[in-house]
């Protein structure tokens, strides 16, 4: 069974929310839609669920025309970024709601609900009111409700984004386990996220979307190593990959008047001309003999420090693998790991990847 999206477009205003999207989702697999806020992720999920009708295009699932089936008969499940539950029902009734709606046998409902609550770790909370639960627990209820349905298509719209760090980490691990279990039930899992790290960790197929258009799709490894365009490279890295204009001339790679490096071996065959150079924040390191940059901001993130650097018109973010405090406007000397440099055409397409 597979879900086929064919040339889906949706343009409610001047801008496209979905622009000519064609995708194939196979059952038993997991997909991550990676894109920034307002890139069209939610619209895409809502279109699959049936909450939104596209202007053009077709959706087929299991050889039936999905667009002709109303939402309430599509048998999909969706978990929202906000914790959406039914506030007038307790935890058990919330999870049982879709099953009761389907007029399932009472005993069967009871066992399905029990099973779903076990999966998400809500045993003991059966008769609690939704308002009495913490955010993480509320999201577990929403998740349990979608699991109990055993829907053929499970849509998760940034389900972890409103949770605090610790809960997010915990639930993500559970998600991975759940997904592996769900694989047996042959459902399609589509997970929307803005977080590249999360997408990589979930390790499904990644679909990169921006301004309603699909930029690239492929395995996590493939998208990470060979981003199709500079835009993809920005979206799939956190902090975003540093993309800067550069000039290749006479065996040197010139970023600006003072930042010029000798062309690395793997780029020797590239003809002279204007390009975009892409360097991951993690491929920049401190070096006393390196280039002098002014520090604009430094942020400490867990065990790393992000340095926002500037050299005239050249800006970049570097990740330093230690916690260090810096003064603003301090001069920091850095260098680039030349073997990890990406090169993109001026139009944005990938010209050379170090993993090629």
């Amino acid at each position: 069974m597979s879900l086929l999206l064919n040339k889906i477009s949706f343009k409610p205003t001047e801008e496209y929310h979905l622009n000519d999207i064609s995708l194939r989702f196979d059952s038993g697999k997991m997909y991550t839609i990676l894109g920034r806020t307002l890139s069209g992720k939610t619209t895409l999920l809502k279109t699959i669920a049936g909450l939104q009708t596209p202007d053009s295009g077709s959706i087929n699932f299991d050889d039936t025309d999905f667009l002709s089936i109303p939402v309430w008969k599509r048998n999909v499940a969706m978990v929202y970024q906000q914790f959406i539950n039914y506030p007038h029902l307790n935890v058990r009734d919330n999870i049982a709601f879709p099953l009761k709606q389907r007029k399932m046998d009472e005993n069967l409902i009871e066992s399905e609900v029990q099973e779903a609550m076990e999966k998400v770790g809500l045993i003991g909370f059966e008769s609690r009111k939704i308002q009495e639960l913490s955010g993480g627990q509320q999201q577990r209820v929403a998740l349990a409700r979608s699991l109990a349905k055993k829907a053929k298509i499970l849509l998760l719209d940034e389900p972890l984004v409103n949770l605090d760090y610790k809960l997010r980490e915990g639930l993500r691990e559970e998600f991975k386990k759940l997904f592996n279990v769900s694989d047996e039930s042959n459902s399609i899992l589509i997970y929307a996220s803005t977080d590249p790290l999360e997408a990589m960790q979930l390790n499904g197929d990644i679909i990169v979307i921006d301004e309603g258009k699909i930029l690239q799709s492929g395995t996590a490894k493939d998208v990470f190593e060979n981003p199709a365009t500079a835009k993809v490279a920005e979206i799939t890295n956190d902090p975003a990959m540093n993309i800067n204009k550069c000039l290749i001339q006479d065996n040197s790679l010139i970023m600006n008047d003072s930042v010029q490096i000798q062309i690395p071996d793997q780029l020797k065959s590239i003809p002279n001309g204007k390009y975009l150079v892409g360097i991951r924040a993690t491929d920049i390191y401190l070096d006393d003999q390196g280039f002098a940059f002014d520090l604009e901001i430094s942020e400490i993130s867990g065990s790393e420090t992000f340095l926002h650097l500037r050299n005239n018109n050249l800006k970049c973010v570097a990740t330093i693998e230690e916690v260090k405090t810096y003064n603003t406007n301090e001069v920091v000397k850095i260098n680039f790991d030349k073997s990890k440099i990406y090169l993109f055409e001026e139009s944005g397409e990938l010209r050379h990847s170090p993993y090629q």
Partner: protein, 282 residues
């Protein structure tokens, strides 16, 4: 500083409570007085300062032949008309408000907000403007001086209030709740009745409270559209007025007519704080 704040807070609450309660105490004591006790200067404490009597109260329940006004009939008329009109207004208003909140309507230049405004605009007009149209309207329907006619008119007056309050309420209920219900297998009607409606009780109670208050206190239309067969409480009470203003029975009538509102307010207030949508959305 916080201490001063607390003090001021309680000070003003107590002050306000005095403002609200004082007229009631005054009315209660006056209702047990007779002509001499009322005109003899300010007195407050029964038995010590004046001799209490039930004359003021008995006038309200005596038939006209014995010099009373017998408010029992009009009292139940008022309750019936107000409750029926409020109930119908809430039902229709809630349905209309849900549609206005969730669906997009467009007819030429008229859009959702214009329709909502159209409802509210009914309340902008001074009632006098509506009196003649209503009179002609009801007389052509043969509904002058009838409970049904009054209920019709009150629905026109009360439904805008219900629509107004409920549109605002539904706009604050996240759409995602409806959408989740649809995804979970409800058709749009089931989504409304099984999910949205049970969570809208607080809003409906507020709307109901306002409808009951505005319906109950109306004098103008009750006065114009009824004559002899059907009378409502506010109109009947006016019949008390004669050459000597009977402050004692007016006080008693005032207490009797305000009692239902106080009861309703206490009941509704208890439920208002209970229901909330905090569990729906972070």
């Amino acid at each position: 500083m916080p201490k001063l704040y607390t003090f001021l807070k309680y000070f003003f609450v107590v002050l306000w409570a005095c403002f609200v309660i004082a007229p009631f105490l005054w009315a209660i004591s006056t209702s047990f007085k007779d002509f001499n006790s009322v005109t003899g200067g300010a007195t407050y404490i029964p038995w010590l300062q004046f001799e209490p009597t039930l004359d003021g109260w008995s006038v309200l329940f005596k038939p006209g032949s014995q010099g009373g006004i017998n408010i029992i009939g009009p009292y139940f008329n008022s309750i019936f008309v107000t409750l029926t009109a409020s109930l119908i207004s809430i039902v229709l208003g809630t349905l209309a408000a849900y549609a206005l909140s969730r669906y997009t309507f467009k007819a030429g230049i008229v859009k959702n907000n214009d329709i909502t405004f159209f409802f509210i605009s009914q309340r902008i007009m001074p009632p006098v403007v509506l009196s003649i149209p209503f009179f002609i309207f009801l007389s052509s329907l043969g509904l002058l001086d009838s409970l049904a006619g009054l209920i019709l008119v009150y629905i026109v007056l009360l439904m805008p209030i219900a629509v107004w309050i409920m549109v605002d309420f539904f706009n604050r209920v996240p759409r995602e709740i409806d959408e989740t219900a649809l995804i979970d297998g409800c058709n749009p009607f089931q989504a409304f009745f099984k999910v949205v409606l049970p969570n809208s009780v607080p809003g409906m109670l507020v709307a109901g409270l306002f409808c009951i208050i505005f319906g109950w206190i109306d004098f103008f239309f009750a006065f114009i559209l009824t004559f002899t067969k059907v009378q409502l409480l506010p109109v009947k009470i006016v019949a008390l007025n004669s050459s000597i203003t009977p402050w004692w029975s007016l006080s008693a009538a005032a207490l009797v007519s305000v009692a239902p509102l106080i009861i309703v307010a206490f009941i509704v207030e208890r439920y208002l704080s209970k229901g909330n949508l905090s569990g729906a959305l972070k």
